[in-house]
């Protein structure tokens, strides 16, 4: 088991594009570490650099304290599972699993033993003599994982291994991978664009955007204490709602409501006049179902657009009126949430017994104890 440390790792491509900017973090021994972010954020490039398939432009990568920047991939004792699985089509499953061991010149008996063991763990025993072309997607994925396991490497690197599977299989394999990693205890770095996978699998998660690490933390930390607007909007599904807010006379003025601002929070604003307010869907409640007025909050009149009932959850997509000109406070990326210049679209997660119906008005209770305030320019979380 290895500890992997990255220090100011940067990747610059020949044409000048900066794919990764000064990434620094440490994956402890046996930890399940996730790199998550939208496409193009540099997570795969980062993984490739850890594997040694891509050169590091600047910075250091260390394994157990030793710098491995110039160590060839085949000497790093890491196993990688590719998004495309990359299993050898001209070899049987057994030969695929045995290949790395043959290259390492292990004794035939040892090779057979390890292959059988991996096949057992991943339920490939019946498929050992088949060729990859005759296997299903899920089976191929397991072969790719089997090939990684047989090597008993110091670290596993997985590059979006579940993206090519259908939804049901994906959920199933997700738990298998989690279980496998726990049993084997191998240090694992896992790349995905799916925040659900990141939240459920990782012990610690690093969120990347455009090559820069935004925040590293446990799923809980990322969810409850997002460091900036991007992380707040990326983590959590449906994503956090964002509204333009103004600070006037010590009060926070939202498009459809007004709230008192607590002293400590007001201080942290340092005199800012406009902020972006983030509210998670679950902090809107059906006003008819809660005791209004008990806690910090406000009543919001909403016009219901769309209702999604999922059995245990009820999502209400609604519109909030926004006075003219105030929408300008929202950064460009969030403007897609606005239907037109005067209304903002939001999502609330309410109790399934709510009577919310489309095209009707609904009274919602906004729980202000869970607000996040963000600086409109830097996106930084100011508190809340």
């Amino acid at each position: 088991m290895a500890e992997i440390t990255l220090h100011d790792v940067t990747k610059r491509f020949p044409d000048g594009t900066l794919a990764v900017k000064q990434a620094s973090f440490t994956v402890s021994e046996g930890e399940f570490f996730i790199l998550v972010g939208p496409s193009g954020c540099g997570k795969s490039t980062l993984l490739n650099m850890i594997a040694g398939i891509e050169d590091v432009s600047e910075g250091e990568i260390r394994m157990d304290g030793k710098i491995v920047n110039d160590v060839d991939p085949k000497d790093r004792n890491m196993a990688m599972v590719f998004q495309s699985y990359a299993i050898y089509p001209h070899m049987s499953v057994r030969d695929n699993l045995a290949f790395p061991l043959e290259l390492a010149r292990l004794a035939k008996r040892e090779i057979d033993r390890r292959v059988e063991r991996a096949a057992g763990i991943l339920q490939l025993a019946d498929l050992l003599d088949r060729k990859p072309a005759s296997l299903s997607g899920g089976e191929r994925q397991r072969v790719a994982m089997g090939r990684a396991i047989v090597r008993q490497p110091a670290a596993f690197l997985l590059d979006e291994p579940l993206s090519n599977l259908d939804a049901r299989l994906r959920v199933q394999m997700r738990t298998e991978i989690a279980r496998l990693q726990r049993n084997l205890g191998t240090t694992t770095v896992y790349v995905t664009h799916d925040q659900t996978e990141a939240m459920t699998l990782g012990r610690r998660v690093a969120v990347l955007r455009r090559g820069e690490v935004q925040q590293i933390g446990t799923p809980r930390e990322l969810y409850a204490e997002p460091r900036n607007l991007f992380v707040a909007g990326f983590i959590g599904s449906p994503s956090m709602n964002f509204l333009p807010g103004e600070v006037r006379d010590g009060r926070l003025v939202l498009p459809a409501a007004e709230l008192a601002l607590a002293r400590p929070l007001r201080d942290r604003l340092h005199g800012r006049r406009s902020v972006i307010v983030g509210i998670r869907p679950e902090h809107f409640h059906d006003a008819s179902l809660v005791e209004v007025g008990n806690t910090d909050g406000a009543v919001v009149e909403a016009e219901v657009d769309l209702v999604e009932w999922l059995g245990a959850d009820l999502y209400v997509h609604f519109q909030m009126d926004c006075p003219a000109g105030r929408m300008g406070a929202l950064p460009v990326e969030l403007e897609h949430a606005a239907k037109d210049a005067n209304r903002i679209s939001l999502v609330a997660r309410v109790d399934p017994s709510s009577r919310a119906a489309e095209k009707e008005r609904l009274r919602l209770w906004l729980d202000a104890s869970h607000l996040h305030l963000f600086d409109p320019e830097s996106g930084e979380n100011l508190g809340g």
Partner: protein
């Protein structure tokens, strides 16, 4: 079959008919005619003495030293050039695949031998190896008259053939090379394979179909060699190939009977080679199809 399918089929046949008839008319009919002619003793210089001899022409040819010598020569040239072409072609293909610098120049350069008129290329080499006008002797510090002895002449012929046809082989191999997914090579690298191991155990096996196709066409082309030999030696010095034998019999000596028999024999040889290869492919392809 629906009326629409029938109409489609009719249209398809109408569209293909001109091409198909052109191809058939100029090959199927003449080869049958050649077979017919081969059954006669027929010399155009003495047309009146034409008479039927059955398989007599074949007997004389197969009993003649010239034919077997020529067949041997042809096989030497075929095996020699194809073997070297394969290795050289691979090297060339790898260069084209990996070279980022001057890729366009290389690709253009590759086409020069292909587009160059074979006769011109052969003449260029002939002049190069000529002791009087050429630079090869000066370059190697030799005094040899290459095209006056059998051995050296063979070398020059094979050399000229290899020069001209390796680029095409390289192109075919390059196409096969690009079909090998990069991911597989990355995976092999992670699995611990060195560059040569990756080449031998991943790249080569996955290129087998492309290599087989390239080999088939190159072998058939090499067997049919004519232009280069004609220009370099005219077939003298025991360097005659089967095509030269045929040409001499038919056009130079106007012996249609004997010449046609040679033609048919050549046709049968080519057929045999093609069938052997396809049987070989067939075995290879069914092995691959099992995976499908």
């Amino acid at each position: 079959m629906s009326a629409r399918r029938r109409a489609e089929r009719r249209l398809a046949w109408w569209l293909c008919a001109p091409a198909v008839s052109a191809m058939l008319a100029v090959t199927a009919f003449p080869i049958l005619y050649a077979f017919w002619l081969s059954l006669f003793r027929y010399d155009l210089r003495f047309p009146a003495e034409r008479r039927f001899v059955g398989l007599g022409n074949y007997a004389s040819i197969l009993g003649s030293e010239i034919w077997w010598q020529a067949l041997g020569n042809t096989l030497i040239i075929t095996v020699g050039s194809v073997a070297v072409e394969l290795v050289l072609g691979f090297a060339l293909a790898l260069v084209m695949h990996r070279a980022t610098f001057g890729r366009r120049t290389v690709r253009a350069a590759i086409l020069v031998p292909y587009a160059l008129v074979t006769v011109v290329a052969a003449l260029a080499w002939r002049f190069a190896f000529d002791p009087a006008t050429g630079f090869i002797n000066a370059l190697l510090g030799l005094e040899r008259a290459w095209l006056t002895e059998r051995g050296p002449a063979f070398l020059v012929i094979i050399f000229a053939e290899i020069w001209k046809t390796t680029p095409f082989m390289a192109l075919l191999l390059l196409a096969g090379l690009t079909l090998v997914p990069q991911d597989l090579l990355h995976a092999a690298r992670m699995d611990g394979a060195s560059a040569s191991q990756r080449f031998l155990r991943i790249t080569l096996p996955l290129m087998k179909p492309a290599v087989m196709v390239a080999l088939l066409f190159r072998t058939l082309d090499a067997f049919r060699v004519f232009d280069t030999v004609f220009v370099l030696t005219r077939g003298a010095l025991d360097t005659e190939t089967v095509s030269i034998v045929g040409y001499n019999a038919l056009i130079t000596r106007l012996n249609l009977g004997l010449g046609s028999a040679v033609s048919v024999l050549i046709f049968l040889c080519v057929l045999a080679i093609a069938v052997a290869y396809i049987k070989g492919f067939g075995a290879l392809l069914t092995e691959q199809d099992e995976r499908r």
